[in-house]
């Protein structure tokens, strides 16, 4: 079966997020004074063939650990939908 998988890779709590901070600093100048706390991560969409949603998930989690993210500084969240 084919599954649509979405992986959200975000900087771990307590890890600096320069991109987010820079955007945050720029916001007031653009007139957005009520926004803050910006954190930027990555989102990866992919399709996998697997026997079940659970299989698809564990496959992608394995990919996350091995190269889509570095657990040292990032958290990865995997979501599976039938595709």
């Amino acid at each position: 079966m084919r599954f649509e998988v979405k992986v959200e890779v975000s900087p771990r709590e307590g890890i600096a997020n320069p991109e987010g901070s820079t955007i945050e600093r720029a916001l007031p100048a653009l007139g957005f004074v009520t926004a803050g706390n910006v954190r930027v991560g990555k989102v990866i969409h992919l399709q996998v063939d697997a026997d079940s949603a659970a299989d698809a998930k564990s496959l992608v989690e394995d990919m996350c650990n091995r190269f889509l993210s570095n657990p040292v500084i990032e958290d990865a969240l995997v979501e599976v939908r039938e595709g």
């Binding site: 307590g14 600096a16 320069p18 040292v72």
Partner: protein
């Protein structure tokens, strides 16, 4: 103050020995509290205090009339004439890069740049000597990829060109890569500032990024423990730091502007041990004390403990010592560059470093500032040569089956995959960039941009194979190789910086290696009249209790006195004589420590070929002079892989082959006898050149003719240029990704 710890488990957990605890107790004449203990533990860590190596480093030669600042400051500084000074330093970021290659390398670049602009210099060049595990190991490839991306991502963005380096792959670095970074900067001589706090009542202003929980305990945990590939890694993870090149760029510009306007009396970067180190170091250098208000530190996270604020290694921060009258202007400049600035300290006259909860608040810690540095323990650790040294040295490394054509192909590697990811041209100084021997930069006045008509040359070199066989002679040979590299672009050496990457100093053999390496470096630096102006020691480079091969890395900086045309290329012209200059190897020259013996023959031991240091000095001087006088058409030094690899690189560079005589077996082709250079001189000038060489006691031998579309050795061995080119250019892209659209 909070009560004293009763329990030895606290100081031990912080990495302090019982003796060290007693020492602290003696210095304070009381028990330290937790904060004080943490401050001592970070400052007395191997990383900050050099406690195992100091005793040896003292033997290095450090003086010359042109040395303005020697080892001990943030960077070495030399006078290069025309009221221009050059600051240079090298650092390692080995352990952080092993767990997060991109950020480890990125923050390595960031850290070394701050060392340079701390001295008042604008950084204009970075070099990155890199060493990884073998290319067939997936984790090593991941690390290599990540490290190169990290240097590229940070260095390019912060706006300092990376103009050279090294890339080496070997089993010995599997699990423990070496990421060394050298930076160089220029400043008007009169602007030299030192990291010291003076003037009672002056303010310590913390500039730059906010302080988070990055690298808490990083100094003692990250910098001094080896990594197995175990679950322990997980615990060490949160201390990884993330670099922000944009913050650094603004910080750099702001600091240089502060210095230009004469607004700081001292300035210091924040590196290992964070605020503790910067405040105590500036205070004790200035013979002063300092009060630090922890509540004034701009923090990134809520509820940070004083101990976290005092030891955090958050990146992109500087500490400036400012007279109160200048504070407004300092803040103005900082805010123009969108840099946060907080007054976190005041210079006092009592020599104490006091940590306060509000300037008038509770005293959280109080200790004599100088004790954090000057009283750090110094160990004369036991050292001993390996027990089987004699047996090792008796091995014959020339054994093994040789297939000269294929061996040559396998020894070639083009590092272009690495340096094409680096901006190596910014500032319009790069006359000879990466991909050649030494790097050569135009020397221009840092204030006016005016050309001096002279050039600054740089080269970094290391060779773990030579140093494994013989750390003393091996180290002398790498200094000579670096000098030869800059000679090839017309420069003579001015100074040396070094990064000593070794294993566990608690192993007597490792301490012996380090001591031998220092002696070898000393001999060579004296011979070349190039003092050591700075360095860094990285110990505990080991994986699962196996030490890396000893890997001292040197950076040599030199001067090209008359730069009006680019120096000769590496590439061969057609139809000319190919010469080899320098020491003549014995007929039965040893193959010990050669790339061939390690990677093909399979023997890592033996005795290095004899090395004539005095001859290398004469050869380098002669080559530099010949290049300056434009007498060479092409030139390339002979290093790893010996004469055959050097000749192949020359052939590949121009697409012109050569017929080489005499060198027709693996020993003559691949031996790495030191101090040699391949060169091409125009035929009509050849006789005069030979005479001149012999007057300067530099042996020259004609070994062949250039031309054709293959490289031949003797009558039997022929390698088409195409094969050479493919073997050389494809290795890294194939292993690490192409990076071009044809992928």
């Amino acid at each position: 103050m909070s009560p004293a710890p009763e329990d030895a488990s606290v100081h031990r957990a912080l990495g302090l020995s019982d003796d060290e605890y007693q020492r602290i107790h003696g210095l304070l004449d009381r028990h330290p509290n937790h904060l004080e203990l943490a401050m001592y533990s970070v400052m007395w860590s191997e990383h900050c205090s050099y406690k195992s190596s100091k005793i040896h480093l003292k033997r290095l030669p450090t003086e010359a009339p042109w040395v303005l600042v020697g080892p001990g400051e943030n960077a070495g500084v030399i006078d290069v004439g025309d009221d221009i000074a050059v600051a240079i330093r090298i650092e390692s970021h080995n352990h952080p890069s092993a767990i997060e290659p991109y950020q480890g390398a990125a923050t390595g670049v960031g850290g070394i740049l701050r060392d340079i602009f701390t001295m008042g210099a604008r950084p204009i060049a970075v070099m990155d000597p890199l060493r990884f595990g073998p290319l067939d190991d997936p984790r090593s490839r991941w690390i290599a990829e990540g490290v190169v991306s990290g240097v590229s991502g940070y260095g390019n963005s912060v706006g300092v060109p990376t103009v050279g380096g090294e890339i080496v792959f070997d089993e010995t670095y599997k699990g423990n890569p070496l990421v060394n970074v050298l930076a160089m900067g220029v400043l008007p001589s009169e602007r030299l500032v030192l990291g010291q706090a003076s003037g009672i009542g002056n303010l310590a202003v913390l500039l730059g990024a906010s302080t988070g929980r990055d690298g808490i305990g990083g100094v003692s945990v990250l910098a001094s423990a080896g990594f197995g590939e175990s679950s322990e890694d997980a615990d060490k993870r949160p201390s990884v730091q993330v670099g922000d090149p944009f913050e650094e760029k603004r910080l750099l510009e702001a600091c240089l502007e502060l210095l230009d306007e004469g607004l700081v009396t001292g300035i210091q970067d924040l590196g290992g041990a964070g605020i503790t180190c910067a405040t105590s170091e500036t205070a004790s250098r200035g013979g002063a004390g300092m009060d630090v208000d922890v509540t004034a530190i701009h923090a990134r996270e809520e509820n940070m403990e004083p101990v976290e604020l005092m030891t955090s290694e958050s990146q992109e921060r500087m500490l400036a010592i400012v007279e109160p009258k200048d504070l407004t202007r300092v803040i103005e400049i900082s805010s123009r560059w969108e840099i946060e600035a907080s007054v976190i300290g005041r210079v006092t006259d009592n020599g104490q470093l006091r940590v306060l909860n509000g300037f008038d608040g509770e005293v959280l810690a109080s200790l004599p500032a100088s004790t954090l540095h000057d009283d750090a323990p110094e160990y004369d650790r036991p050292l001993a040569p390996p027990r089987d040294l004699t047996e090792r040295r008796s091995k014959d490394a020339s054994q093994g089956s040789a297939d000269c054509v294929n061996d040559l192909l396998s020894l070639l590697r083009d590092p272009a995959w690495v340096y094409s990811q680096y901006d190596h041209q910014l500032f319009l100084n790069t006359v000879v960039g990466p991909g050649n021997d030494g790097t050569l930069l135009r020397l221009r006045h840092p204030r006016t941009g005016e050309e001096t008509g002279r050039g600054i040359a740089l080269s970094t070199d290391g060779n773990h194979r030579w140093c494994h066989v013989d750390p003393r002679q091996g180290t002398a040979m790498i200094v000579a190789e670096a000098v030869m590299n800059i000679a090839c672009v017309g420069a003579y050496p001015l100074a040396v910086v070094n990064c000593l990457n070794f294993g566990n100093p608690e192993h007597p053999e490792v301490m012996w290696q380090l001591s031998e390496a220092v002696d070898g470096m000393t001999e060579a630096c004296i011979a070349f009249n190039a003092p050591v102006v700075g360095g860094n020691v990285s110990l505990y480079n080991e994986t699962n209790a196996v030490d890396i091969a000893p890997t001292p890395v040197v950076g040599v900086i030199g001067m090209h006195p008359s730069l009006s045309v680019p120096p000769p290329v590496i590439g061969l012209p057609t139809d000319a004589s190919l010469l080899v200059l320098g020491q003549v190897p014995e007929a039965d020259v040893s193959m010990a420590g050669t790339q061939w013996a390690w990677e093909i023959g399979g023997c890592k031991d033996g005795t290095l070929p004899t090395f004539d240091l005095a001859q290398a000095v004469r050869t380098a001087a002669f080559i530099a002079d010949a290049v300056q006088r434009q007498r060479l058409v092409a030139v390339h030094d002979v290093g790893e892989g010996g004469l055959a690899v050097a000749a192949a690189e020359m052939a590949i560079d121009s697409g012109v082959g050569a017929q080489i005589n005499y060198h027709n077996d693996h020993i003559s082709m691949f031996n790495e006898s030191g101090g040699r250079v391949l060169a091409v001189v125009q035929d009509e000038l050849l006789d005069a050149f030979m005479t001149d060489a012999s007057e300067h006691e530099v042996p020259v031998r004609e070994i062949g003719r250039t031309g054709g579309s293959s490289l031949t050795f003797g009558a039997e061995i022929t390698v088409p240029l195409n094969d050479l080119e493919n073997a050389c250019r494809n290795e890294l892209p194939e292993a690490l990704g192409r990076g071009t659209i044809s992928a």
